[in-house]
Symmetry: C2
Subunit: 318 residues, 2 copies
């Protein structure tokens, strides 16, 4: 069963300002892919380059890295704990001597990046809806109690020291399978995973894991399908969204664009589409964040899954 793919500008098809934004986004976030949300937003006027420009300074800080670490840890669902999928994977021919190391490495990269992308989509979403995406706290739109609660002001404790830019050592290259060009089996598996989540299209994470369809099938069936959209899962997703909003409101400067700023680079119709797209992906990314953490949890344990796989080296910032 195939369906029209979701309109988006893939990394290989970007040029000009968009390609530059994609490249800088990967380097600043230290991740090996551009999120589905950005690729889908890219079809609507000048939003992505302008919004990325607004976000870049905050996303290049150690404070951002710390907020992402908190989100990753909060994505771990320990009740119910995942089963060990390795016996089933081994029966499918997937073990340490074959593709398991590559799958683990891909999950490490995805888990490193998903929390950062949740913060990015949240900043963009809150900003266009007229609420704080950091910095100044407008009278309307900031709820009490969403600051970090440390230090003396709402932004106290946010570490603005710079992160190193570029690909961390050991970061794998990720290949996203194109569902439109995939076999019927692989396209059907991606559609099955999409539908189990009530999503609109396959997440980048699953397009990456679809390079190993037998493994993805086992991992979905044994580790994800039993929990996706259960009450515990939705409670975890809600907690991630709350946490992301709180951390974004405590950013030292706005990382999103207001509706007025979006209107400068988009038509009214594009602005409406961007608003909706941001709202949709703000709900989508928490799910995917939980999923990828849960897969690492099942394969490598809770401690590994909740920790950043590519922490920036310590150093003497500035």
């Amino acid at each position: 069963v195939t369906r029209p793919t979701f309109p988006q500008i893939e990394e290989a098809d970007a040029d000009g300002d968009l390609a530059a934004a994609y490249t800088e986004m990967r380097a600043t976030l230290r991740v090996p892919w551009v999120m589905f949300a950005a690729r889908a937003l890219a079809v609507f006027g000048g939003f992505v380059p302008a919004a990325w420009q607004s976000a870049q300074p905050v996303f290049a800080t150690r404070g951002l890295e710390a907020a992402a670490d908190e989100i990753r840890a909060a994505a771990l669902m320990s009740d119910p704990a995942p089963p060990d999928p390795r016996p089933s994977l081994a029966r499918a021919g997937i073990y340490e001597d074959t593709s398991l190391p590559a799958i683990r490495s891909a999950l490490d990269a995805l888990n490193y990046g998903n929390p950062k992308y949740l913060l990015l989509i949240t900043a963009w979403c809150e900003g266009i809806q007229g609420r704080s995406s950091g910095g100044t706290h407008p009278t309307v739109g900031t709820r009490p109690g969403t600051g970090t609660g440390t230090g003396t002001g709402p932004h106290a404790g946010f570490d603005t020291a710079p992160l190193p830019s570029g690909t961390p050592a050991g970061m794998p290259v990720l290949h996203l399978v194109d569902p439109a060009a995939a076999s019927e089996t692989v396209a059907g598996l991606l559609a099955e995973i999409t539908d189990a989540h009530f999503h609109h299209g396959p997440a980048s994470d699953f397009r990456v894991l679809a390079n190993w369809p037998d493994a993805l099938s086992v991992l979905h069936r044994e580790v994800l399908a039993p929990v996706v959209r259960t009450e515990a899962y939705d409670r975890t997703a809600r907690a991630l969204l709350d946490l992301a909003r709180a951390r974004v409101a405590a950013f030292p400067a706005p990382a999103g664009l207001s509706a007025e700023q979006v209107a400068a680079v988009c038509s009214d119709t594009e602005r409406a589409a961007v608003t909706a797209m941001l709202a949709m992906f703000q709900r989508f990314i928490p799910d995917v964040t939980i999923d990828a953490v849960r897969l690492a949890h099942a394969l490598d344990g809770a401690e590994h899954a909740a920790a950043p796989a590519f922490p920036p080296p310590n150093g003497c910032p500035d």
Copy 2:
């Protein structure tokens, strides 16, 4: 604090196929307004007229009315129960001899319609994402256990007898305040309510209640603000969404359009925007449904709030 209003085609500005769809939607659903979602979707190609044509037969049945009644009852939050806002309303000059009857009547109309609109947005959302919006059950996209569970087949027990069409006796006329033309106080109140929900714009319900801004201010502060976005509130919203999906999957015929069908009336970019808009409003309408039921609950008790205020007369259909 003002912000650019959310792009939409208001009822007074519609013409041609769109105006005809708006008119038939109101008559079929027996409600006095066209939902925000439809007005916002209307800027994207031919989606609304085509999608409404697909939905109309199912939405003209008593089975639809019964599903809406279930959703309305499930929107009632009894823990915590709402406080009685009438003392504060009276202090603001709002009581039985002034505007309270009109506010009650507006709430009755909104509560009658919101659950129907949740079913409509859900059918459209599931359909464009490749899942069942009723009728045939495709292999991909239908989760087990979402049928009605009555009778012998998934659609058994769905009453396809026709509903009377048109405005029920006693249904009030609703006026939606235009936030862009409203006083700064009223626009600020609407923005405050929007932000408390983390929404993208004011629901029709609040634009109606903004005709009585002093009352809306009291009702929001005392009845809604203490619960909106709490865990109990989000749990109720999740249950409404689940219930809506289950009832839609049990519709006797598809009430939504597939992505292929949307592609016949929309460009790729419009289809992406429609998909996102539907996903956003599928999360928005449960919130508003809970809110309006809770306001009626506070003013008139749980039994009144959970019941349909404009039940169709019994009769001998056909």
